[in-house]
């Protein structure tokens, strides 16, 4: 049986079909002499003989998952179904495939042969009460292969899709390599299980692997890469409760994360991230910076254990929430390379470089006087509104004037354009100023006796 085109592997934009395509690509390399039906047979054997028909997260009442299709019967029915598709022996309509866009014979897809596309109970959710969505045989076959390229994450299945083909292929290849390793050892019983249980950690771990293993560049003119997005589909098509959620690691977060993992910042960044892991199951724990372990009176756990805990740093980056509160809190007692925060503000928060420079100028002015630094920190920590920080800046301007300094500390342009531009948050400016002051104090090894209030960030971290 000759394949006429590459619709079995060509990227379509549909995450499920594309994973199936990468699996077929992998199978073709592994079994170069086998045709597509023989490859389907290989996959079917794995599903039936090794995985005991356990594809319930993908297909409902399929030729494999229906209770009556255990053992050889499941194999026979599956091969019969896909052979009839390949030989165009099934009822079909001519039209455009809903996923590939190609003009070809189309077949109805539902929960037995496709993922998340609904069943007969959703007939009025299809055009003209059709019995499902209309797809080409190539897409249906790709979907059949997709479980082999996916991973179990908690109680659902995870799929990571990117705009970068190399990243997509890498995601599937790692899983398939492990599947075949386990099959060879006779221990493959189902999907590969992720060591993580939440999407945020999974995405950042995968981004880390892409950066370190693939040496992938977020923006690279030689390869034409224009930023890398990672989209995680977390889904189950199981029984009466199909569910799907999408998580996106945007290109700017990928770019920021890549910079954080560079040699210059990695150590500072990793300490900051490690400190923020949280687990409700590990009570009264504290982070031991010297050993990079989390400890309590009874136990001590290393990175390989706590890396699976939830981490508000990753969660905030995924949700587009500010990290400044966490940076500020961390900076009180720890040295953090200020460039990380500058990159964060510029890449993720679109902050003007001149705003950051102005904050540095204000910091230099404040730390000239130890008592004034102490008072300034206390005052900044106690601020409740934008009015407070405006008053604070006006006082700095006055102090600079009465000190008879020739150069204005804050010009009208600085105030309007850079400290309080449209859409800027006074909290961000306050936090940045505090971070910058702490940074200078660390650099000069200056210790100030200040009573620190517990910030909202601390309470949020524990929630």
């Amino acid at each position: 049986m000759k394949l006429e085109n590459d619709w079995f592997i060509q990227p379509t934009g549909d995450p499920f079909a594309d994973v199936g395509g990468y699996v077929i690509e992998y199978f073709r390399e592994k079994f170069p002499k086998k045709n597509i039906l023989e490859l389907i047979k290989e996959a079917t054997y794995i599903y039936v003989k090794n995985w005991d028909n356990n594809l319930h997260s993908f297909f409902l009442n399929s030729t494999i998952t229906h209770n009556s299709n255990k053992g050889q019967k499941g194999i026979d029915k599956t091969l019969e179904y896909y052979q009839s598709l390949l030989e165009d022996k099934r009822d079909a309509q001519e039209g455009y495939c809903r996923i590939t866009g190609q003009k070809t014979k189309l077949y109805f897809a539902g929960r037995d042969n496709h993922i998340m596309s609904g069943s007969a109970t959703l007939i009025n959710f299809h055009h003209g009460f059709q019995s499902g969505i209309l797809l080409s045989k190539e897409v249906l076959i790709r979907i059949f292969f997709s479980p082999l390229g996916l991973i179990q994450l908690g109680n659902k299945v995870a799929l990571i899709q990117s705009n970068n083909e190399e990243v997509n292929r890498y995601f599937v290849k790692r899983i398939l390599d492990n599947n075949f390793k386990d099959l060879a050892s006779g221990i493959s019983k189902s999907l590969q299980k992720s060591e993580f249980s939440n999407p945020a950690n999974t995405l950042f771990d995968f981004a880390h692997k892409c950066i370190s293993d693939l040496k992938i560049a977020a923006s690279d003119n030689t390869t034409g890469t224009k930023g890398i997005t990672l989209n995680l589909y977390h889904f189950t098509n199981f029984g009466a409760s199909p569910e799907i959620k999408l998580y996106t690691l945007p290109a700017v977060v990928f770019l920021f994360y890549q910079k954080c993992l560079s040699l210059e910042f990695k150590s500072d960044w990793q300490r900051f991230v490690n400190y923020h892991y949280r687990s409700s199951g590990f009570k009264d724990a504290y982070y031991n910076d010297a050993t990079s372990t989390w400890e309590n009176k009874k136990d001590s756990v290393g990175y390989d254990d706590y890396k699976t805990w939830r981490n508000p740093v990753y969660e905030r980056l995924l949700n587009g929430e500010s990290l400044l509160g966490l940076f500020e809190r961390w900076s009180r007692k720890n040295k953090l390379n200020i460039k990380i925060i500058e990159i964060y503000q510029q890449v993720l928060r679109n902050m003007d470089k001149r705003t950051l420079q102005k904050i540095q100028d204000l910091t230099n002015f404040i730390i000239e006087d130890k008592d004034f630094t102490k008072k300034s920190i206390t005052r900044l920590n106690g601020m409740k509104s934008g009015y407070d920080i405006r008053q604070f800046f006006l006082n700095l301007i006055a102090k600079n004037y009465y000190n008879k300094n020739e150069k204005a500390l804050i010009t009208l342009e600085d105030y309007v354009e850079y400290l309080f531009p449209d859409g800027a948050s006074w909290r961000d400016i306050r936090d940045l100023l505090l971070i910058s002051i702490y940074q200078k104090l660390h650099e000069t090894d200056t210790s100030l006796d200040i009573e620190m209030p517990e910030l909202e960030a601390e309470q949020e971290l524990e929630s």
């Binding site: 934009g13 809903r98 996923i99 007969a120 997005t229 098509n237």
Partner: protein, 225 residues
């Protein structure tokens, strides 16, 4: 390039992922071409048979939220609907305070929006939209556009970062309707930070100091005849 800019706003909008039928219903962050061309049909009051079409658009919104929605599932027998329906619920994501700007080169199409024939919708039937402004303007060409956002861009040649989805360009005027021109697109959120693209686009200003580079989709419908 001389264009007609049509501004539409709506309280809510929701654009389905075409092939996610069961479970949670997320919304695309930018409408697909088929939705925008459907909007033109609604304004025109009839199905538009294009030979070719050049169109650009930009979409933004204020917030994203999830609504618990009642749905009715009609039971079927032998692949045909019956008169039995049962209610169910699902969570549907929606966009709040949406803004869509269309860029059209054809004044006839632009004129449809001066007095739309049917209600204009940005998604479901309750996502009612209003035309807030129609004006003629000149857009300057930009090579290697770096302010492409709030749009969908064909993926195959550009591979831009964003949510990647297979989206249709249009639907047939048949029953049932069939999608045509489906291909992968990068869906680029309006909040995305600017990245160099290598795309030829046209620069507009949404507001003072708020430039945007608009990609024009050039569709040849004859290939789908």
């Amino acid at each position: 390039m001389e264009v007609y800019k049509i501004d539409l706003t709506s309280w809510t909008a929701s654009f389905r992922y075409p092939n996610l039928i069961s479970g949670f219903q997320p919304t695309l962050e930018v409408p697909p071409l088929s939705t925008v061309l459907g909007l033109i049909n609604a304004a025109a009051g009839s199905y538009q048979n294009y030979q070719t079409l050049k169109i650009g658009y930009y979409f933004e919104y204020e917030a994203k939220a999830v609504d618990l929605e009642t749905i009715y599932q009609i039971s079927s027998k032998d692949g045909k609907p019956t008169n039995q329906a049962k209610s169910n619920i699902l969570n549907r994501e929606f966009l709040f305070n949406a803004f869509l700007r269309l860029y059209l080169t054809d004044n006839i199409i632009a004129d449809y929006f001066r007095q739309p024939y049917y209600p204009l919708l940005l998604g479901r039937m309750n996502d009612l939209a209003t035309v807030t402004n129609i004006e003629k303007g000149e857009l300057a060409a930009v090579v290697n556009a770096d302010k492409v956002r709030g749009q969908i861009i064909p993926f195959a040649k550009n591979r831009l970062a964003g949510q990647i989805q297979a989206l249709p360009k249009y639907f047939t005027n048949s029953f049932p309707r069939n999608n045509i021109g489906t291909e992968p697109y990068s869906i680029i959120n309006f909040k995305s930070n600017a990245l160099a693209t290598g795309i030829q686009a046209f620069r507009d200003e949404l507001a003072p100091n708020k430039p945007i580079d608009i990609y024009f989709h050039e569709i040849d419908f004859s290939v789908y005849a």
